[in-house]
C-alpha cells in the first residue's frame, strides 16, 4: 500500500498533472458558477478534451473539475442566491443573507475553508477506506456484482428523483434499454440498430451525456426564460468586503467541520445519495443540535449554517469516489459520467484497479487533496475576477455551450449523424425534464447496462440457468434485502404522501 501511495504521489505531483488539477479546478469553478450548469455538464464538456490524455491525467482533470464545479456553485449561491449546482442550494440559506449583510467576502472565505477542510478530512478517510473496501470486494462474484449494481440503480432512482421514484425507474429502464443498442458483447449479434450503420457500435456515451446534460441545459436556459445575467460591478472587490476570519469565528467553525465531514463522507459513499443530500442533512443536523439562540440565526447568515453544507458537500464528493474506485460502481450521476469516461479509456474501475493500476488509483486520491489546496489558494483570491463570468449574458452563453457540446461530440467521430442524433436526444431530454423525469438514473442505467448484462449472464450460467444465486450467496442475499428495503421505503413514503 505504501508503495502504491508513493507511486500515486509521484504521478500526482508531476508538473503536468498539477497543471491538470489547477486547470480542472479553474474550469470547474467557472462552469459550476453558471446557474444551470452543474458538475455533470462540466465533466461532460471535458470528456472530448481528455481523449488524447493518459487515464490518470484525465481522471485528475475531471476530479479537479468536480471540486471546482461544487466550489463555483457555492460562489453563485452566496453572491446571487442562484446555486449553480444542486449540492450548494443549502449554502445559499445562510451564505446569501451574509452576502446581503455586506459579508460576502467572509461568506466566500468560510465556504472555501469549510470545503478545504471537508475535502481534506474526507481524502484521509478515502485513503484508509478505499484499499480496505477494494480488498473486501475481491471476494465479490458476478452474482454479487449484479446485486450491487441493482442496488446502485435502485438507490439513485430513490434518492435522486425528488419524490418521483417511478419516473426515475422509467428512466433507469430507458438507460438500460439504450445500452442494449448495438452489438451484444458475447455473441456479436446486432440488436436494435434497425440496419443503421451508425447504431451498430451502440450509442456513444459522450453523445448521450452531452445531449442530456450540457445541450439540454442550454436549451433549458432559453426554454424557461431563466434570467442568469448579473452585473459585474456587484462582485467587485470593494463590494465583497474582507475575507479575513476572526479567531472566534474559526472556533465556531471547527466542530461543525468535524461533524459534517464524517456525515458528508458517509453519505457520499452510499450509492445514489451524494453532495445534495449530504449538504441538506448537514445543515439540518447542525440546526437541530444548535442552542435555541443559535437556532434563530440559521437562515439569516449563521456561520454554522454555511460551514455545515459546504463541508459536507465536498466530503460527499470525495466519498462518492469510494464505490467508483473500489467496486467500479458509481455512487452518483457525476461519478457515473466519470466511470463512462474511464471505460472509454479502456480502464475498468473495480478491486483490480487498486492492484493493477496503482498509479491511477492513488494519483486520483492524492490529486483530490491537491485540488482542495488549489481551490483554497488559487480561487479564493481570484473570486472577484472569476465571478465576473456571471456577467456573461445568456444570449452569448447558450450558443457557446451548444457549440462546445456539438464540437465535443463531432470531434470524436467526425460523423454528422452524431450531431443530428444529439440534437434529437437533447430535445427529448428537455421535454422529459420539464415533465420531472430525472436524467441521472438514465445515465447510470446506460453506463451500468453492459456490466449488468455481463454479470447477470455469468451468474445465470454458473448457476445452470437458475436464479438461486439471489439467496444462496450471502453478499447477494444481503444486497437484495437492501433492494427490498429501498422499494418498501418508497412505497411507504408514497402512502404517507398520499395521506397528506
Amino acid at each position: 500500500m505504501n508503495e502504491g501511495i508513493l507511486i500515486g504521489i509521484n504521478t500526482a505531483f508531476s508538473g503536468y498533472n498539477i497543471f491538470m488539477v489547477m486547470a480542472g479546478c479553474f474550469a470547474g469553478t467557472i462552469i459550476g458558477m453558471l446557474p444551470g450548469l452543474g458538475p455533470m455538464s462540466a465533466i461532460a464538456l471535458m470528456i472530448p478534451i481528455t481523449y488524447g490524455f493518459d487515464p490518470a491525467s484525465a481522471m485528475i482533470l475531471m476530479a479537479g473539475v468536480y471540486y471546482g464545479a461544487i466550489f463555483g456553485g457555492s460562489t453563485s449561491s452566496i453572491l446571487i442566491n442562484a446555486p449553480g449546482v444542486a449540492g450548494t442550494v443549502s449554502s445559499s440559506f445562510d451564505g446569501y443573507p451574509m452576502s446581503q449583510n455586506g459579508q460576502a467576502g467572509k461568506a466566500l472565505a468560510i465556504a472555501a475553508y469549510a470545503s478545504f477542510s471537508g475535502g481534506t478530512i474526507a481524502a484521509i478517510f478515502l485513503l484508509i477506506a478505499a484499499p480496505q473496501l477494494a480488498k473486501v470486494s475481491l471476494s465479490f462474484q458476478s452474482a454479487d456484482y449484479f446485486a450491487l449494481m441493482c442496488v446502485g440503480l435502485l438507490s439513485i432512482a430513490a434518492f435522486a428523483s425528488k419524490g418521483q421514484f417511478l419516473k426515475a425507474m422509467i428512466m433507469t429502464a430507458l438507460g438500460l434499454a439504450l445500452a442494449t443498442v448495438g452489438q451484444d458483447a458475447l455473441s456479436d449479434i446486432t440488436r436494435f440498430a434497425f440496419g443503421n450503420i451508425n447504431l451498430m457500435d451502440g450509442i456513444s456515451f459522450v453523445l448521450l451525456v452531452m445531449a442530456t446534460f450540457a445541450m439540454s441545459e442550454a436549451f433549458m436556459i432559453i426554454f424557461k426564460k431563466m434570467d442568469i445575467s448579473f452585473k459585474a460591478s456587484d462582485v467587485s472587490k470593494a463590494k465583497l468586503g474582507s475575507i479575513k476570519l476572526s479567531k472566534a469565528e474559526v472556533k465556531e467553525m471547527a466542530p461543525v467541520i468535524g461533524r459534517s465531514s464524517v456525515l458528508g463522507f458517509l453519505v457520499g459513499v452510499l450509492p445514489g445519495a451524494g453532495a445534495t443530500i449530504a449538504s441538506f442533512l448537514a445543515w439540518g443536523f447542525e440546526r437541530s443540535i444548535a442552542s435555541a439562540k443559535d437556532k434563530l440565526k440559521f437562515g439569516k447568515g449563521s456561520i454554522k449554517g454555511l460551514t455545515a453544507p459546504e463541508t459536507a458537500n465536498n466530503a460527499a464528493c470525495t466519498g462518492s469516489f469510494v464505490p467508483l474506485l473500489t467496486l467500479g460502481i458509481p455512487g452518483s450521476g457525476t461519478t457515473a459520467v466519470m466511470l463512462g469516461a474511464l471505460l472509454s479509456f479502456g480502464v475498468q474501475p473495480g478491486p483490480r484497479l487498486y492492484i493493477e493500476q496503482p498509479e491511477l488509483f492513488w494519483a486520483v486520491i492524492v490529486s483530490m487533496y491537491i485540488g482542495n489546496v488549489v481551490l483554497l489558494f488559487l480561487n479564493l483570491p481570484l473570486i472577484p475576477y472569476i465571478a465576473r463570468i456571471l456577467a456573461i449574458p445568456k444570449n452569448i452563453l447558450v450558443p457557446l455551450v451548444l457549440f462546445f457540446s456539438v464540437t465535443g461530440v463531432y470531434l470524436i467521430s467526425f460523423n454528422a449523424f452524431d450531431i443530428y442524433f444529439m440534437a434529437i436526444v437533447a430535445f427529448l431530454s428537455l421535454v422529459l425534464r420539464v415533465l420531472n423525469y430525472p436524467m441521472p438514473p438514465l445515465i447510470l442505467g446506460f453506463i451500468l447496462g453492459g456490466m449488468l448484462e455481463k454479470n447477470l449472464r455469468r451468474a445465470i450460467l454458473i448457476n445452470d440457468g437458475s436464479f438461486s444465486f439471489m439467496w444462496e450467496r450471502p453478499i447477494s442475499l444481503a444486497l437484495f434485502v437492501v433492494m427490498i428495503i429501498i422499494v418498501l421505503l418508497q412505497i411507504y413514503q408514497g402512502i404517507q404522501k398520499n395521506k397528506t
Binding site: G52, L166, K167, M169, I170, A173, L174, L176, A177, T180, D184, L186, S187, I189, R191, F192, M215, F219, I222, F223, K224, K225, P393, K394, N395, I396, V398, P399, L400, L402, F403, V406, T407, Y410, L411, F414, A416, I419, Y420, M422, A423, A426, F427, L430, L432, V434, L435, N436, Y437, L452, E453, L456, R457, I460, L461, D464, G465, G494
Partner: protein, 154 residues
C-alpha cells in the same frame, strides 16, 4: 382517470416498452443459442418487463401535476434545434471553421445580440482558438475546405 402530461408520457413509455419487448423477441440469435439459459434476447426482455411494469404503475398512480407547458419558449428552442441540425448538415460541405462561425453568429443574432462587434468577437476568435488548439497542440486534424482554399491549413 384524468389525462395529464405525466400520464400521457407514461402511456408513451408503456407503448415504447411494449414495442421494445416485441423487438427483443425478434432478435435473431444463433441456432445453438436458441434454447440457452442466457442469450442476446434475455437481458432486453428483462428490461422490457421492468419498463412495462413501472410505466404501467406510473400511468395508474400519477397525480395531476399542474404542468403548464404553454408558458415556455417552445419556438426559440425549436429554432435552436433546427440550427444545430443545419450545422450538422453544412459542417462536412463548407468545413468546420465557416460552419461553426455561421452557427454561432446566427445563434447570437437570433437570441437578441445586435452588436456586430460582440457577435464577431464572440465567434471568430473562439472558433479560431479552438481550431488552433486542436491542430497545433492536440494533433487533431479537422478537414476544412475553406481554410485549405485560403491556404491557412494544408
Amino acid at each position: 382517470m384524468n389525462i395529464n402530461y405525466s400520464r400521457l408520457s407514461a402511456l408513451i413509455f408503456l407503448l415504447f416498452f411494449i414495442v421494445y419487448s416485441y423487438l427483443a423477441s425478434e432478435i435473431k440469435v444463433f441456432s445453438f443459442d436458441e434454447n440457452a439459459d442466457f442469450n442476446a434476447r434475455t437481458f432486453p426482455t428483462f428490461i422490457s418487463y421492468i419498463g412495462i411494469f413501472v410505466s404501467f404503475l406510473t400511468l395508474v398512480l400519477s397525480k395531476n401535476e399542474h404542468e403548464k407547458l404553454g408558458q415556455y419558449e417552445w419556438l426559440k428552442v425549436i429554432v435552436l434545434f433546427v440550427l444545430v441540425f443545419t450545422y450538422g448538415i453544412i459542417i462536412k460541405s463548407i468545413g468546420f471553421f465557416l460552419s461553426t462561425n455561421l452557427f454561432l453568429m446566427v445563434a447570437y443574432y437570433y437570441l437578441g445580440v445586435r452588436s456586430p462587434k460582440i457577435i464577431i468577437l464572440s465567434s471568430i476568435p473562439v472558433v479560431a482558438g479552438l481550431q488552433f488548439l486542436l491542430h497545433e497542440l492536440l494533433d487533431v486534424y479537422i478537414r476544412d475546405p475553406f481554410l485549405q482554399t485560403i491556404g491557412v491549413i494544408s
